[in-house]
């Protein structure tokens, strides 16, 4: 009976947002803001209800269910259907995407109320919801790739939503192009999968992979590294993370939904989804885990010194995505997905909170120009605080459980080093999270007089989503309790997808598996580190506000390096973009215009010249003709005589 429920609901998850796009896209301007503001959130809300239906169906049925709409591309044996897949992983993702998506849509009704392109905003936001749901529900690599590319398009459009200004327009373009470099790898990976397995269907690929490819084989490594290249682009990991900080030029709900809660997690989802292939390539797994942890570390270090509230959160997102890759990279897929889920709650909350601050301060984002806001916008402050506690891994908040699960598994499956970098990053995380709480919300007001005059709390339609997300950011962690506290509901639910492989890792790492005592000790260390980070932030920004300035001076070069984000953008410009532009210019102006076309025109000119030259022989003068005849006769006679 679960199967029937799935077939009855799964297509509606996509249909509702699509209808939202069509209704608002074609008729939005005639319907007016009021109707658009109902249709947009309702489309995603209904998709959430459908996703709940599918979730129940998945719980009831004990195997994955595939629903095929039609045969999309058939060329020779390349045969791809438009098909969706319902299993624990896809249903959990669908719930997160549509649930958090719905809350952000509701929030946007308030946040975007004054914008002249209100309709356009909701059309594109619904298109995003549709695309993201397609990505997580697709049953083969190509349908996943369609969703993958379409979310990229929505990201491009929504980052550049205020396209009249140069910065958003450039940021949107940058996001699309940088992620497309990753997609280049992803597309090649899909081609290699087809060439190897003659199918792109998840089930068939995963079934045949262990038979066809031995563990550690070159093809398995190549496939997974190429796929991971896509993830590095989309999930903003080193070296392709540079687009995400700039993406903050988009409206804040977009940053919350796309560039924190959902789209950027697509890479993590993809690795989890294709984990059967990654299991066959231990090298790729190590690459995933190490890129993850290094990104987590560097992004967190950049977040330490940013002054733009949204950019702090952006670097934090990059860093947290790094943690998720550590999780899936060490084979703890359920832990990775668990952190993805809790992160969706608390990071969406933090971004929407930042949006609420902007709303209160007429768009101000520089935390150095804020201060003392906690009594003026209380709801925003308290919900933001919950988000920051969850992010910094404060005990009993959601981030505490999910991050700790990853760190523990990293130690258990891969050893001390990965854990050590992770725990140092956790310290920085706690510090920058509370820097983002103390500097804007505590202390003296440093606001502009004009702005300070009309600081106001956001309307209900924005506050209610904040409160719901705050509740989720607190309670979300109890879905994934550690083993000694009763075990993880998320892990149990996802076990049909991951169980076999995760079990293998535990067995392999048997030597490390050191029992409850060690796990509790590690958890204790995490708690201490989180509290220390928060404490240091309190010391520097509340107790001794002069310290940061002194520190910035004292550590001059390091501070400058961090503040300028290690000069990576500048490096890419100098090493990649500008040389390519130079080459393009040279090819166009010199090689093509003068070289190739010069040759073509040269050939034409040669025939023109030879015609002009030989024409001069035809003088029309009879005497010169007679002279040439005479000369010819002399030469010929001479030849025959002297022969």
């Amino acid at each position: 009976m679960g199967e029937a429920l799935i077939h009855n609901t799964i297509w509606f998850i996509l249909l509702f947002p699509l209808l939202g796009v069509l209704i608002n896209g074609f008729f939005g301007y005639r319907l007016g803001k009021r109707v658009v503001g109902v249709v947009g959130p309702a489309a995603v809300g209904l998709a959430f209800l459908a996703a709940c239906g599918m979730f129940i169906g998945v719980v009831q049925s004990h195997h994955a269910v595939v629903s095929t709409l039609y045969s999309w591309i058939t060329v020779g044996d390349f045969d791809v259907s438009l098909a969706l897949r319902a299993d624990p992983l896809s249903s959990l993702m669908a719930l997160v995407v549509s649930g958090v998506g719905f809350l952000i849509h509701v929030y946007s009704v308030g946040y975007m109320a004054e914008d002249e392109r209100f309709t356009r905003f909701f059309t594109q936001l619904n298109l995003f919801a549709f695309s993201m749901l397609l990505l997580v529900l697709g049953n083969n690599f190509l349908v996943m790739f369609v969703g993958w590319e379409l979310v990229g398009l929505c990201s491009y459009l929504l980052i550049g939503f205020w396209f009249e200004r140069d910065a958003p327009a450039d940021a949107g373009k940058k996001a699309f192009l940088v992620t497309r470099i990753g997609d280049f790898g992803f597309a090649l990976g899909v081609m290699l999968i087809f060439t190897t397995f003659r199918t792109l269907d998840f089930e068939q690929v995963f079934e045949r992979a262990p038979e066809l490819l031995p563990v550690g084989s070159t093809i398995a490594t190549a496939i997974t590294l190429l796929l991971f290249m896509g993830a590095v682009g989309k999930s903003a990991q080193i070296p392709l993370y540079v687009w995400l900080p700039d993406a903050m030029e988009g409206p804040t709900p977009v940053s919350a939904l796309i560039h924190a809660a959902t789209m950027v997690t697509a890479g993590v989802y993809m690795v989890a989804r294709t984990h059967v292939l990654f299991e066959l390539a231990p090298l790729s797994m190590s690459v995933v885990a190490w890129i993850g942890v290094v990104t987590a570390f560097f992004a967190a270090s950049m977040a330490l010194v940013q002054n733009d509230l949204k950019r702090i959160l952006a670097y934090s997102t990059i860093s947290q995505l790094g943690y998720m890759f550590v999780g899936v990279g060490v084979g703890a897929y359920a832990a990775g997905i668990f952190h993805l889920t809790t992160h969706a709650f608390f990071k969406a909350l933090l971004f929407l909170g930042a949006g609420s601050v902007m709303h209160a301060l007429s768009g101000e984002l520089n935390i150095q120009k804020m201060g003392g806001l906690k009594d003026k916008i209380r709801w925003t402050y308290w919900t933001f605080l919950v988000g920051a506690l969850a992010l910094s891994g404060f005990p009993f908040f959601s981030g505490f459980f999910s991050k700790d699960e990853i760190l523990w598994k990293a130690y258990e499956n891969a050893g001390l080093w990965l854990w050590l970098v992770g725990i140092v990053t956790a310290f920085m995380t706690a510090f920058y999270s509370f820097r983002a709480v103390f500097v804007p919300f505590w202390g003296q007001s440093r606001l502009d007089k004009k702005i300070a005059h009309h600081v106001h709390e956001s309307p209900q339609v924005m506050i209610v989503p904040l409160v719901i997300l705050a509740v989720l950011a607190f309670l979300g962690g109890y879905m994934g309790l550690p083993h000694f506290l009763g075990g993880s509901a998320v892990e149990g639910f996802l076990s049909p997808v991951f169980a076999a492989e995760e079990g293998a890792h535990v067995a392999e790492a048997g030597a490390h598996a050191a029992g409850v005592g060690l796990e509790v000790t590690f958890m204790g260390i995490s708690v201490v580190v989180a509290l220390a980070g928060i404490g240091l932030a309190y010391f520097m920004y509340v107790a001794r506000p002069t310290v940061p300035v002194a520190l910035a001076k004292g550590l001059g070069p390091l501070y400058t390096l961090l503040f300028n984000k290690y000069y990576v953008d500048e490096l890419y410009m100098a090493v990649v973009v500008n040389p390519l532009k130079g080459l393009a210019g040279w090819l166009a102006r010199v090689f093509d215009a003068r070289g190739i076309d010069g040759l073509v025109n040269g050939i034409a000119a040669f025939f023109g010249w030879s015609g002009q030259t030989t024409r001069k022989v035809q003088t029309g003068s009879v005497r010169s003709y007679a002279l040439s005849i005479l000369l010819g006769v002399v030469v010929l006679v001479g030849y025959f005589v002297l022969r």
Partner: protein
Amino acid sequence: MNQLGFPLLSLIIFLPLCGAVVTLFLRKEAVIKWWALIVTVANFFLSLPLYFYFQSGTAEMQFVERIPWMLSLGVSYHLGIDGISLFLVLLTTFLIPVAVLSSWTYITEKVKEYMILMLLMETSMVGVFAALDLILFYVFWEATLIPMYFLIGIWGGERRIYAAVKFFLYTLAGSALMLVAIFVLYFMNAQATGRPTFDLLELQKFSVPLAAQTWLFLAFALGFAIKVPLFPFHTWLPDAHVEAPTAGSVILAGVLLKMGAYGFIRFCLPLFPAAFAYFVPLMSILAIIGIIYGSLVAFSQSDVKSLVAYSSVAHLGFVVLGIFALNAQGLSGGILQMVNHGLSTGALFLLVGMLYERRHTRLIDEFGGLWKQLPLFGIFLLIVTLSSIGLPGLNGFIGEFTILVGTFQANWIYAALAATGIVLGAWYMLTMLRRVMHGPLDKPANRQLQDLSAREIVVLVPVVIFIFLIGLFPNLFFGKMESSVDTLLSQTRATISMGEPNP
């Protein structure tokens, strides 16, 4: 053989010619325009039965007509289409009315002559795709040059004479060798079989000696490579495009370039299969250079139209790469990508033309922030751009991806190199979009611009419908090609693997 019992192909070919003759006697410009539009639209509807009555399960030529023409020489009036030519005929009959309607206000002088040339253009192009006799093919092939020469030379921009002469001479030079090769083939076949014929289907049965295949392939290939145009034979294209009137560019990019790629499939592959296989590396590498080089040069253009022209070099590189992958995905993808390129690049030229009509410039630096002033135009430009850079859900993705899947199986390095075109394509197109449509609307002249008129929307909407249709339901197209492609490939493979040594 002919499932309709009715010479439909002849009707489609000669209806525009008859329409052109009638146009001679019309006086009023408005009447001439409407007449040309009615004739071309009618011709499009006439060509639709080609799709609906086309039988998918067979690789035989369909809608065949065959009348002896010059009997003693073995020339016949032989027409027919298969799954390879079907969509090129339909693309032609579809794009011509679009081009006519797009010229409504753009062409103000010599309207009668213009419309006559457009109609002649249609006759000769459909003829190229339907001819199954080499002489008939050659006649139509060369006949396409004349109307286009005048379209560029009379209604073109400032350097129109230079561009028109260059276009004419360059492509004529290419096809001159092809004519020689046709005769060589004819005499070789006549000597070997004793039955002199120019009939393509007869000649396909004759296996050309290997030594000769190489030279004949090269002679045909040069003509086709110039037409495509394949790097390094492409420099006539930007000149022709930049100077041509909008409709001329639409037809040039939409249909004329396809004649070259079509020639490779229709003639080079079945007639000289061994040579075809032998030249796969050379042609593939030229195609890949075309993709990367075309994209880079496109990026540096300051004129939108010449940017689109160079993007054609890149896109046609994909088509040729697919054809020379010599497998089902590559070849079918290549054929579909011809149609896709006709639609998306055709639409890009239409949009650039609409911009030029308003602003009388095509320099990218003269624009900026236009979306605010022209939102409707912006939506169309966005959709067409996305189609051109291969966004899934739209047509370009289907073609590019199937081509790459085919290429990957033949040679993964080629596929990896060509796939950089996906990134580069997005780079130059989105940069163009950024500079033209986004940013502040800071040039006073751009603040006066009017958004699209109803007529312009009518021009664009059908193209956009097909962009979505192919993207969402490509099997409507692949299904019709399947038998022809499979049969062509299996015949080729059989001939190549007959144990013949490499030429």
